[in-house]
């Protein structure tokens, strides 16, 4: 009822030079039951140091969009640039830290060994690796668990280890696909805070998928609402919240208003998907 967005036409006024720029990006998967339109005409521009959340019903293409940015999928139409390069060039420049929807730890490596793997591949020396491993393990509250094997950890702990792995090397762009989905509320709160602190400190650009409205509102500078069949952006909500965000901000009036707006956007999207 407020300014209803014109879908698929969001040339946003990004604060800084765009790091990620999607223009008319579509992605269709050919399947046995006919083509699946995972993304349709997605336009989005994400600036340096932005924290952008993607929210929307299951199957609306959130994962697919993140994968497209990371050059794990190729758009079937439209253009996507990252730091002015193609996503694949950005991948080769090691621009991405990607946290997948499932932990994906290597069972034959300890937690520390798992975190060390990308560092070994990228050629960090041993002392540097160890310092980084200790730092990120502390960050995700797994300080004691470096020498354990993944199967000795709970699902949520494994997920945190996979977050630590993506944080260990200094990728410009962090892409996180429901990273906190498997965590309890308290740990989730703490990790939300830790992530905000890390973001404020390092100025990285973050793309973040979540199903939780409060989480999206609490973390983001912008919230992208998506809807399925075909997967598209139906609303982009700028957050007026300051960058400095204590947990209590979630009790404020403006927080409630933002949450309401995201919920409305999601409702509209759900309705549109039912045709």
């Amino acid at each position: 009822m407020m300014n209803r967005p014109e879908p698929a036409l969001h040339l946003s006024q990004a604060p800084a030079a765009p790091v990620i720029e999607a223009r008319g990006v579509s992605l269709t998967f050919p399947t046995a039951d006919g083509p699946v339109h995972a993304l349709k005409d997605v336009n989005l521009s994400i600036g340096q140091g932005e924290f952008v959340s993607f929210i929307g019903p299951s199957g609306c293409g959130k994962t697919t969009f993140l994968r497209t940015i990371a050059a794990l999928e190729r758009p079937t139409a439209g253009t996507l640039t990252v730091n002015g390069m193609t996503p694949d060039q950005a991948r080769r420049a090691r621009a991405y830290g990607y946290v997948f929807q499932a932990p994906g730890l290597y069972p034959w490596r300890t937690i520390a060994g798992n975190i060390s793997l990308p560092l070994e591949i990228m050629g960090f020396d041993k002392a540097d690796r160890e310092a980084r491993i200790a730092r990120v393990l502390e960050l995700v509250e797994l300080g004691q668990f470096g020498s354990r094997y993944p199967w000795q950890l709970s699902g949520g702990m494994q997920q945190r280890a996979s977050i630590a792995r993506a944080l260990a090397f200094d990728a410009d762009i962090l892409l996180m696909d429901e990273p906190f989905g498997a965590l309890d509320e308290i740990v989730r709160d703490r990790l939300n805070e830790a992530l905000l602190a890390l973001w404020a400190r390092t100025g990285r650009t973050i793309g973040f998928v979540t199903h939780s409205i409060p989480e999206a509102v609490y973390l983001s500078t912008r919230i992208v609402v998506m809807s399925p069949r075909p997967g598209r952006i139906t609303d982009v909500i700028e957050s007026p919240l300051p960058r400095e965000r204590p947990l209590e901000i979630r009790d404020s009036k403006i927080f409630a208003e933002l949450s309401h707006r995201v919920r409305e956007g999601l409702r509209a999207g759900h309705g549109a998907g039912d045709d």
Binding site: R67, L72, A93, G104, Y106, E120, I121, Q152, F169
Partner: protein
């Protein structure tokens, strides 16, 4: 929903723990069925020995114009020098005598013949496994190799080894290559295939997300092989090595059969059959079987140790 999640968590957590606890207990549990089957086989074997050797005893008795009691018949069927089917204790005695009854340099020593067979087997196994692994690495990295090598590998195994083994031996002997190498080549021929098939499967085993992770780190092909493909292939590698070592032993023995061979368990088999020494044939057979079982067990033990240390035991 909650229940489903707990169940998945539990099931992803339990297998290694269960494997750790279960291993010692399993040995005790599996002994009884194994012993039962063994006892049944021994009984059946004795019955078969009596039944198959009796005609000759009756024949001899008839010729000498004597009659034999059932007791005499039973005893006689189990103490012949060249029985149709030697009784288990005769084979056991021959085995024992072949292993401990003479110096290891003697031509009748099973230790000597066993070692000759074993060394060629190990050489062929090493050669075949290395070839299988290298070809598998090539195949998973190159579509051209996948399309061109696999059909030939399959074809190579359809050729009856018994038919080409003598040719390999004769051809190599004509250029002066004799001894261990020709046998090892035949053995490698049989053992590379299971390793190739197992490793192609194993090197492709990691799930797509693990490959995606590697891709997002911009890992090169060598790193993907070293850090991801190779470690995940180890369960497949060990499984195929067990098949390969048994195949390698068969290959070596087949390589020892062609005329002229005087050394190795295969040669013992052959000379036994020339002279109707059935006990010798059977003791060589059992020596080969024991050797094979020992080798397979050894690989199994190495596999268990390695996989458990890697957290991959199941």
């Amino acid at each position: 929903m909650g229940r489903v999640m707990t169940e998945t968590t539990v099931s992803t957590l339990t297998p290694p723990r269960a494997a750790r606890r279960g291993w010692a207990g399993q040995a005790g549990r599996s002994a009884l069925p194994v012993l039962t089957v063994l006892a049944a086989i021994v009984v059946a074997w004795y019955l078969a020995a009596v039944w198959m050797n009796a005609p000759w005893v009756r024949d001899q008795a008839a010729r000498a114009g004597e009659t034999v009691t059932t007791g005499q018949l039973l005893r006689a069927t189990m103490a012949q020098e060249r029985p149709v089917l030697p009784a288990p204790h005769q084979v056991a005695a021959a085995l024992w005598e072949g292993v401990t009854g003479q110096s290891v340099t003697s031509k009748r020593s099973l230790v000597r013949h066993g070692w000759i067979t074993l060394s060629a087997t190990l050489a062929g196994f090493a050669l075949g496994s290395a070839a299988g692994i290298l070809l598998a690495v090539g195949i998973v990295h190159s579509r051209v190799m996948d399309l061109s090598i696999m059909p030939w590998a399959v074809a190579s195994q359809t050729i009856p080894i018994l038919a080409i083994a003598p040719m390999v031996i004769v051809v190599l002997a004509s250029v002066g290559v004799t001894g261990l190498l020709p046998k090892a080549l035949i053995s490698a021929w049989l053992s590379f295939f299971p390793v190739l098939v197992g490793m192609v499967k194993g090197l492709r085993a990691p799930d797509p997300m693990q490959f995606d992770l590697m891709r997002s780190w911009n890992a090169n092909g060598g790193q993907v092989l070293r850090f991801l493909r190779f470690p995940s292939s180890l369960p497949w590698l060990f499984a195929s090595l067990k098949v390969a070592i048994a195949a390698a032993l068969v290959g070596t023995i087949v390589g020892e059969l062609p005329a002229g061979a005087t050394q190795g368990l295969g040669a013992r088999l052959l000379s036994g059959s020339y002279y109707g020494q059935t006990i010798q044939i059977w003791s060589a057979l059992f020596a080969a079987a024991i050797l094979a079982a020992g080798l397979v067990w050894l690989i199994g033990a190495v596999a268990r140790l390695t996989l458990r240390r890697m957290g991959l035991a199941r």
